[in-house]
């Protein structure tokens, strides 16, 4: 969970030394009271929300027309029998990486003039290094291949009327809730 930490963390624009250690950003919703007002005025303003909705609709259309929401394509990907999914994910990563490089290089800010900084993901304090990433990653991968959809495509399928995905969404929420309840007992 780095999105809110990134969004709501005050940044003085100094070097890495000024940012909180990654562990502090890890999974904590650092919503400072003063920033809440700004969020309500900016990110949660009706116009901003409408734009997020429109962006989402475009993404849902791309997901669908490229068939990445298809159980069949995920199955084909894990059997290494088509380049399609690898091409989609690989070129998405390359495009995003180039964009982030340009943003950092030019020191671009958000529309509201706030600095853009990506919080590093923490390795966590577990005795096993990176336990959460590989254990959680394997858990997610098992579910991804069974269901044939990750959270974004799950929502796109729901919108398209694949109604059994209602059951999958409820199960996913139950999974998230169970994780939340067991969180202190799991290695991270």
């Amino acid at each position: 969970m780095t999105n809110s930490a990134l969004r709501f963390r005050q940044s003085d624009g100094a070097g890495d030394g000024a940012s909180p250690s990654p562990a502090e950003c890890l999974d904590t919703e650092q919503v400072e009271p003063g920033l809440r007002q700004r969020a309500l005025a900016e990110g949660n303003a009706p116009l901003a929300l409408a734009i997020y909705g429109l962006l989402g609709a475009f993404l849902g259309l791309v997901f669908t027309k490229s068939q990445v929401i298809s159980w069949f394509r995920i199955y084909e990907m894990f059997r290494f029998e088509s380049f399609h999914m690898y091409g989609v994910i690989g070129s998405a990563v390359a495009t995003a990486a180039l964009s982030i490089w340009v943003i950092k290089r030019l020191g671009l800010t958000t529309l509201h003039g706030e600095p853009i900084r990506l919080s590093p993901k923490a390795w966590g304090g577990s005795r096993v290094p990176g336990a959460r990433y590989w254990m959680g990653g394997i858990t997610f991968g098992l579910g991804w291949a069974l269901l044939g959809a990750c959270p974004g495509p799950l929502v796109a399928l729901l919108g398209g009327g694949v109604s059994v995905m209602v059951a999958a969404l409820v199960a996913a929420l139950a999974g998230t809730w169970t994780y939340a309840a067991l969180r202190d007992h799991l290695p991270h």
Binding site: M1, R7, D27, E29, V31, L40, G43, A48, L49, G53, G56, A57, G60, L61, F63, T64, K65, Q67, S70, W71, Y75, F78, R79, S82, H84, Y86, I89, G90, V93, A94, T95, I100, V102, I103, T110, I116, R132, Y133, W134, G136, I138, T139, F140, G141, L142, G143, W144, A145, L147, G148, P151, G159, G160, V164, A167, L173, G175, T176, W177, A180
Partner: protein, 195 residues
Amino acid sequence: MSLHPMPVPQDPWPWYVAGPLIGLFVPALLLFGGKVFGLSANLRHACAALPVSNRAKPGFLRYDWRTAGLWNLVFALGIAVGGFLGIRVFSDPSAPMALSPETVAALVDLGVSDLTGFVPAQLLSWSALMTPAGALMVLGGGFLVGFGARWAGGCTSGHAISGLADLQLPSLVAVIGFFVGGLAVTHIVLPLLLG
């Protein structure tokens, strides 16, 4: 006019169109509002938004979800609208996917012959939900996606796209984990379950 209205298999938009378009969501969200592209956080926001008393919620779900995640929930709602347009308006529901012949053969071995639609109706449908295999795939798969995404701190969008694009080593570990899990299901679990 063909006398045999056999639907022509549908090819997807090519990867070199779809991939860069998806990748551009990362800078678009960063520049517009400093938001990080990551969809599974919505599962947490949705749990946090459930009308349940705070005492009944684990601490992980007690936070100001409106400030942290309302934008993302609206973004996900938009994806549902896009899915509606893509599936109901701009797709032919009777056409099968243009899958590779090897994949089609492997699916036939698993008993999956209906390749129309976006999910195999023989495995993922309300009637299939009553079978052990269907229940494991829909309910078990959904549960593991929700559990694993938060444990790993991200999903395909948060780790595989945002994280890898920012050259985050933890994200690479997570993505390798995604593949270890996915390969195990595809090559071991599904043949045992359906074979």
